[in-house]
């Protein structure tokens, strides 16, 4: 007789989805901090993409505005990168966000220790538990990442239209913007996973009694 316990992937998804839906408010709080950090990251990055697009267009009207706000517009100037100050701010905001997300995920795993212990009593393997949390975090990360990236891009676009006029839309580097959105979503999802993995692995390795004894 093969002594197998199993949790089909579809069932894991269903459990993760249900847990997000029922704890909607808590998920929303976690996701919101993710949205904000990703939005900020995308905003600065998309801003750079747009400026670079304007620069490449070599349209005199744009170049004039660009040089007025302090960019080096000579043809042999290096391509526009985020300034050290900008990078520093983005880095700090991501750091704050990482800490926030890890904190939120830590809380949400801790508050479910009893549930984890119970699932183990019912025959769950450690990795079923980790898998459910990973799926949950990925869903939150993707949702937060997409919303944040779109939000950040939208704000950057609006700002550039205000600054350079609606003609700027014609020289938008859409592929670069697309890449920026993609990386921002990946960053968001990665952060969310980072926050949930550690507590989930710790919790899943506990003996069922230890998990169930934890104060709720």
């Amino acid at each position: 007789m093969r002594r197998l316990v199993a949790l089909p992937l579809s069932k894991s998804f269903q459990m993760a989805y249900q847990s997000i839906r029922v704890r909607f408010f808590r998920s929303l709080v976690t996701t919101t901090s993710l949205v904000l950090a990703v939005a900020f990251l995308t905003f600065t990055q998309a801003g750079n993409d747009i400026t670079e697009g304007l620069l490449i267009s070599q349209d005199p009207a744009f170049l004039q505005i660009l040089s007025k706000i302090g960019y080096d517009v000579s043809p042999d100037a290096p391509s526009i990168n985020s300034s050290p100050k900008q990078r520093w701010i983005v880095f700090l905001s991501l750091l704050v966000c990482v800490v926030g997300i890890i904190n939120a995920q830590l809380m949400s795993v801790t508050e479910r220790f009893r549930e984890i212990g119970t699932l183990k009593c019912l025959g769950a393997l450690d990795r079923f538990i980790v898998r459910i949390f990973v799926i949950e975090a990925t869903m939150q990360g993707l949702a937060g990442g997409v919303v944040g990236a779109l939000l950040g891009t939208l704000v950057a676009l609006t700002a550039s239209i205000f600054r350079f006029g609606s003609a700027a839309v014609s020289v938008m580097p859409w592929t670069d913007l697309g890449a920026t959105i993609f990386y921002a979503v990946c960053t968001g999802t990665g952060l969310s996973l980072l926050g949930v993995l550690y507590p989930a692995i710790i919790a899943s390795r506990m003996l069922p009694v230890e998990a169930m004894r934890v104060e709720q």
Partner: protein
């Protein structure tokens, strides 16, 4: 007596809790043999180590020394898969605090162990509904634990414990959080199961209502087995109240 199978065997189990400065010796060498199909009550004052013993028998915690055999298999020798399998298929757990998954409905709670056991979704739902009927919760399948009373939650927990037709039901104070009549209902339910399906019921309790249905009562005192009484011995002493005073 001896020809009956011993489904649970506990030999020389001790459990210490290391609290840093002091080591609390909770179990001080428990030896116990439990026959298949019996209804066993583990009785003893609060703090005597009933729950601790319950956790050892159920493979939820590891003894400091000694061995626990389920079906003559030393559970300390099992790997993670086999242990999960044992918890899933062989043993059904019932807790004083019900321990239902709060985000799931009654039916979903009951089907989790079946999902782990590889039962197909349809079959699990069908059996889940049957079990709900059996514990008297027909029509409550869409309710979440928070929408059910304590007694109803414990019924769901009983149904969940039965999901994979385990050989053993371990119940740690199943009536501890319930009123008198609800508690009696749960006890009757467990007794019926034990009679109809030959399930071994092991229940830690200080609820004297349990004595009337028990085949055997194990008295625990201060981490040791004080005495083991058969049903007939209990009956002589007027329903156990005499022995309860001890």
């Amino acid at each position: 007596m001896t020809e009956k199978k011993k489904i649970v065997r506990v030999t020389g189990v001790t459990k210490d809790f290391d609290l840093g400065k002091i080591v609390v010796k909770v179990l001080k060498g428990i030896d116990l043999e439990i026959e298949e199909g019996k209804y066993i009550s583990i009785m003893g004052p609060s703090g005597s180590g009933k729950s601790t013993l319950f956790n050892m028998i159920g493979g939820l915690d590891k003894p400091t020394s000694g061995k626990v055999f389920i079906d003559e298999v030393d559970i300390a020798q099992l790997d993670a898969y086999e242990l999960a399998w044992l918890r899933c298929r062989k043993i059904g757990y019932i807790f004083q605090t019900f321990n239902l998954i709060p985000v799931m409905t009654a039916l979903e709670n009951i089907t989790i162990p079946m999902t782990f056991a590889g039962v197909s979704n349809d079959a699990a739902l069908r059996r889940g509904m049957e079990l709900l009927d059996q514990v008297g919760l027909t029509g409550r399948h869409t309710h979440r634990p928070s929408e059910l009373s304590g007694g109803q939650q414990q019924r769901v927990a009983v149904a969940r414990a039965l999901a994979n037709s385990p050989a053993i039901i371990l119940a740690d104070e199943p009536t501890g959080n319930l009123d008198l009549t609800t508690g009696e209902d749960i006890i009757r339910l467990l007794k019926e199961l034990s009679l109809q399906r030959g399930v071994t019921v092991i229940s830690a309790t200080h609820d004297y209502k349990m004595l009337n249905v028990s085949d055997q009562v194990v008295w625990i005192r201060d981490g040791q087995v004080d005495k083991i009484q058969e049903r007939d011995e209990l009956d002589i002493r007027t329903g156990g109240l005499e022995s309860a005073r001890h």
